[in-house]
Symmetry: C2
Subunit: 366 residues, 2 copies
């Protein structure tokens, strides 16, 4: 139902719980049918209620980006958490990791011998309680080592007393039109090479973990035994424009109001301004995107500019300019940023408000 | 002092209070010497402690973007608030505006006859307690009417029982290299035309309000009697690259740690990854910017990519790659977004932590 309930004050993040449930179920079924473990990345939603749904649908555990996120979900009873990030562990972080290890299985990322040594030193006698996965660069060229460097990092980790459990990668270069299939192949190849290198070096490789909503449904045969998609729970304008979801799959939208309206007279661009800006949508805008957001009820409209509290929407000639005060739904480009901007979200079903969820791990950057 | 105090856990927003105080004082003095009222936009910092400093330095009142922000600062005792936004006033917003009018002088923006009528209807007998300023489009082409349309909107506002106080504009097209001076002229001209049109239509024009940190120090003679810069308190990478501030003027930085390090072997780009991403820096990146952020200690380094928790920093050939675990300061492109991502900031002086401030109006989007 594409209705904004009357009691919602714009701008506000709305989640259609039926679409959310369907997305969670679809990914869980697909993973199960392929014999893969699902470890969803909860940085996307940062919300306890949604993680509980994912675990109830069969997720083996969760993925987070920071120790702070791990703490929030561990406190809610999650028993298996992977921090998919190449942590630099100082004394304060070591203490927090050990505390986490007391309540759940905890794994962290690692992409250098130096980080392994530092982590082992700071964890001391507790080093063996933290699993590490070696991060592999499968083509995104952000963090991670090349597959042929993985064994060196693993050996340094083992020397530092850490518990080497396997390898992981994030094929972030999948976020470009035409790239998901190729990125999925790169991911598969890099993980395979790195896992083999570790096995040849004598390591038992229990986890081979891949990533990414754009690639997660592509693999039919993969060397990975675990995938970590995040955005699939909601979908967003990037996934739509990458053809990784349809309009009907999008569970999260921002309710907005038309506050300014300009027809084409006097050389004006024919546009409206709505009250959802970068402080609720986030301002990610890859160069291939058609704009800063999308409007599901007006697929030809284009969000050509975003200020903190204004989205400028160039209106299609084929459609009448909406009246001032009209309430419109806006789909953010990157849903993980939108969730991190609000303290709570309104949960809707069939056009009515059914709940409010707190974004429990909002702002947990460290 | 370009030092990150040891007790700061990265990533974290740090404010150098000496630089902040100097920026506040400089703008206040400049405005005073030109006989202009300063009404700083507090959406930049959303912090009570900083608004108090601005008012103590002589600001006539504050500017906010939303009713929610106004409520936070009014509760702290601010007596004169302008919501520089073309509000669409529904019943809920009308109630909140009336409540604000009981504790302070409140003015709002308006850019259409329809919005004026709706606002007057909803405010009813209280309409006269809310001042309105007609928003003028001085070249940014976002919201606002053309100067020759201002009198029509003002007449509609008066008919609706609202208290027309003048005109305002935001010359947002100043945010481009080479544009600030021209945008300041456009602003001056548009405000002059609109104010004249209102006076000719019989209105008393008590407020002629201009905007923007890039233009605020340019005007020597201006028709405006009030300016609303915001970013000047902190500076940021955009202001630096627009040559509107120097490195020494930047009061806010994000403390970050090198978590991944890659030399040039194997065709790699020579880079480090630090743990400050779009969830603390914000991801605004105008096409003229050199990257997603800047590093004050390494002005030739370039932040070429930003993920939620990673900034990829391409390192200059002239400088050695920093070791893993090195702590670096990062300057966000757009400081207003960074402040809106954290619940509190660490206040530093001479390399030591002196206070923690809550970002009291964080997330107040409506």
């Amino acid at each position: 139902m594409n209705v904004i309930p009357a009691e919602i004050v714009t701008p506000a993040v709305m989640i259609d719980v039926d679409v959310l449930d369907r997305n969670i179920e679809r990914m869980a079924s697909s993973m199960l049918s392929r014999g893969l473990r699902l470890r969803p990345h909860v940085k996307t939603h940062k919300t306890l209620e949604i993680a509980r749904k994912q675990l109830a649908a069969g997720a083996a555990g969760i993925t987070v980006a920071t120790i702070g996120e791990a703490e929030v979900f561990a406190a809610d009873g999650v028993k298996d958490i992977f921090i998919a990030y190449p942590l630099w562990v100082d004394a304060q972080r070591a203490e927090r990791l050990v505390a986490l290890a007391s309540s759940c299985r905890i794994a962290v990322g690692l992409d250098s011998a130096e980080s392994a040594t530092a982590m082992g030193d700071r964890l001391g006698a507790d080093a063996g309680r933290v699993e590490v996965l070696i991060e592999i660069d499968s083509g995104h060229h952000r963090s991670g080592v090349l597959p042929d460097e993985a064994a060196d990092v693993a050996r340094a980790a083992a020397s530092a007393g850490l518990n080497v459990a396997g390898v992981f990668t994030f094929p972030g270069h999948s976020y470009k039109p035409g790239m998901p299939t190729g990125a999925a192949s790169n991911e598969n190849e890099a993980l395979g090479q790195a896992a083999n290198a570790l096995m040849q070096a004598g390591f038992e490789v229990s986890t081979i973990s891949g990533g990414s909503t754009p690639t997660a449904l592509i693999h039919s045969e993969t060397v990975a035994n675990e995938l970590r998609p995040g955005v699939y729970v909601f979908g967003d304008a990037q996934q739509l424009e990458l053809e990784r979801c349809s309009w009907d799959d999008i569970a999260l939208s921002v309710a907005a109001t038309v506050v300014s309206r300009h027809d084409a007279k006097g050389g004006n661009v024919r546009r409206v301004v709505v009250d959802a800006g970068s402080k609720i949508l986030g301002s990610d805008r890859p160069d291939w995107a058609t704009g800063y957001a999308r409007l599901p009820e007006y697929p030809e409209a284009r969000v050509t500019a975003l200020s903190e509290h204004h989205a400028t929407v160039v209106w299609p000639e084929s459609s009448e300019l909406p009246a001032l005060g009209t309430r419109l739904r806006v789909i953010p480009n990157h849903v993980c940023l939108a969730m991190n901007l609000v303290d709570e979200v309104t949960v809707v079903r069939n056009g009515g408000v059914v709940d409010t969820w707190r974004v429990a791990a909002r702002g947990r950057n460290s």
